[in-house]
Symmetry: none
Subunit: 393 residues, 2 copies
């Protein structure tokens, strides 16, 4: 593997080899997320930080966390394995690094939580620049046991957002995740799958071809090297990347207690607006979404609502829902009262309309003229009536 390449699939535009090797080592030496490794890198840079760990020049808490793995440097093997499966190690020193999305890890709330430490680097497989796929982007998450309604909504949101150029970030799981990715793929739009296993593994296995399609037109991202298996705790760890990479987090269907609510909670702490798609109150799969809205999440009824929140200000603003026009729209209140008083199957003189409407005769007369101009009243043989209804268009 050359120290400097320009091919995106191979990766590492201009990043020195020693930095890549150092970060590959750091990514594996402690199970992510590890705040102490991040702090050490901030203080000494990746190369010296890796050296210090290798040589045991460490603070007490970090010393314990790296004790098991610090002597086994598998950085070169991981980089070679990645190269073999078309993956690359993406590091903060690379212009492709999604630096802006990951500023989320610098919020006061995130800094207070060790489990919301930023990644030291990520493994990426895919044809496109990750930073471009993420700016702008939205994470879409939800239940694996989604209903037909939920998968329909996720696909709709995924395709409309992707068609608008918004990256659809999800976890490639069954149900909502897969539907969101498929929606984005269907319109040839940007989509990113964040995995809890190596970027080369198909998990779940049934999504092998889906993952291939995501890699072909978007990206697959993971903190775990090629071959790593999806351990349970890694799904929770993975969720913070998913939440940070989206400028907002949309929950489509979620049960009363679900991983999606955990992702939503991470997103909130990371300063990301949390949105939830409502559903029937009779559906157990929408209970979690409704609870999120009651707790302050934004209800999104259409993908345009998401664009309004996350998209470029002033450009993607959702249009107001279409409102049916009525012939009586825009009438002043008196004219509306007179119109109500007009009989349907009869014709009346002004004084009868005056009594029925309770309005002074001069106002009734003025209103009748107004109504006549609008085609809402007819004057026939000295009496006023409603015109016969025209056939519906």
């Amino acid at each position: 593997m050359s120290a400097v390449t320009t091919d995106l699939a191979a990766g590492h535009t201009g990043v020195p080899d020693e930095v890549l090797k150092a970060r590959a080592y750091l990514l594996r030496v402690a199970e992510p997320p590890c705040r102490e490794v991040v702090d050490l890198v901030r203080q000494y840079g990746p190369v010296e930080a890796a050296d210090r760990i290798r040589h045991g020049v460490l603070s007490d808490p970090l010393s314990k966390k790296v004790q098991a793995r610090r002597a086994h440097d598998r950085a070169e093997a991981d980089l070679e394995a990645a190269h073999a499966v078309g993956a690359r190690l993406l590091v903060p020193e690379d212009p492709e690094w999604p630096a802006w999305p990951f500023t989320a890890f610098g919020t006061r709330g995130a800094l207070a939580k060790p489990e919301l430490a930023p990644p030291v680097a990520v493994w990426v497989r895919g044809a496109r620049s990750l930073s471009e796929l993420c700016e702008p982007a939205v994470s879409i998450v939800g239940s694996r046991a989604a209903t037909g309604y939920g998968t329909h909504a996720a696909a709709e949101f995924g395709s409309v957002l992707a068609a608008a150029g918004v990256g659809v970030i999800s976890g490639a799981a069954f149900g909502i995740d897969a539907a969101a990715h498929r929606g984005a793929l269907a319109v040839g739009g940007p989509t990113v799958a964040v995995l809890a296993c190596g970027p080369d593994r198909a998990y779940p296995a049934a999504h092998e071809s889906l993952l291939e399609r995501i890699a072909a037109s978007g990206a697959i991202v993971s903190e775990y090297p090629p071959g790593a298996v999806p351990a349970r705790h890694r799904f929770l760890v993975r969720n913070r990347l998913l939440a940070a990479m989206g400028g907002g987090c949309v929950v489509v269907e979620a049960g009363a207690r679900s991983g999606s609510q955990r992702t939503a909670s991470d997103a909130r702490t990371l300063g990301r607006p949390v949105m939830a798609v409502p559903g029937p109150v009779t559906s157990a799969m929408s209970v979690g979404c409704h609870e999120l809205v009651r707790a302050g999440a934004e209800l999104v009824g259409r993908p345009e609502h998401v664009l309004e929140t996350v998209g470029r200000l002033g450009v993607d603003l959702a249009a107001a829902p279409a409102r049916p026009r009525r012939p009586t729209d825009g009438l002043d209140p008196d004219a509306a009262v007179v119109h109500d008083a007009l009989p349907t199957r009869a014709a009346w003189p002004v004084d009868r309309l005056t009594e029925e409407s309770g309005l002074p005769a001069e106002i009734v007369r003025a209103s009748l003229v107004d109504l006549e101009e609008r085609g809402l009243a007819e004057y026939v043989h000295g009496l006023w009536q409603r015109p016969a209804p025209s056939p519906r268009r």
Copy 2:
């Protein structure tokens, strides 16, 4: 009709006949709502207010509004017609008047809107006390063109709330309204239909037996006398009563532009919390509900959420002092008059205070003792004065 009766169906416990006649006249002489009539009644009482209108002793705006009908006094005919159909005129002088719910018309927002003037009186048909049916109560409104999902939800909310003793207030229309009433009736719970026509009319006609059942176990309410037809503007006018009578307003299904949203807007102005039941984002009938939540309404996924909100209001309203406490709060009226008479920068003998207050000397003396105990009066060298104001805490 006797001047004083005790039978609820006939109504008017202890209300003088002349008050009933005056309010029946006032209710019809201007199309409700009419702020000017309300103000006139507040100033002169109903009997003199009616006389002034009959004799044309009026301000300009009111003069125009009553011009068409003031010479046609149909009060007695209306009262007789009501009696004949088992309806009664309910007036603010009656203990059955829902005085507490109607305090909503006194909010700053309501006072600023002429269309949110309180009713001068209401026609009522039904077996139970309206004030009891309304305390506590919730209004449930929604689309006439409801879906099966919406009617299911409305019936569920109606029955759970009514079973908890919460009056279900609605408009007896097709769709959501009827489902909410039916839900309440199914558990033998309290329900009230507010109509835009006379309380004896079945509108819609297909709801004749539903309305009979509502009258039999709850109440039918209207500002329009027996026989009055439902004109379109009357539905909007009616909505404010519906909104005021519920301690909160629940919208179950509503299109993008709907009367329910108008009712919700009235409810908000009247200080009533607005709640909305979500539904599938694929349903046009839930768009209005979702827009309401996006605009700040509370999403309610279960009837218990409504109970939480309305119950909380009851508790808060009971506990929270409506006004700041003043040292003179709780004084009996005589003591308050004597307190007013006490000079700020001088000291007076009892006989001077007797003269200033216009009260007998023995009452002035007793009041001064009371005021002294409260620290509101000081006796110094045989003269009474106000204590020097104490520095603010």
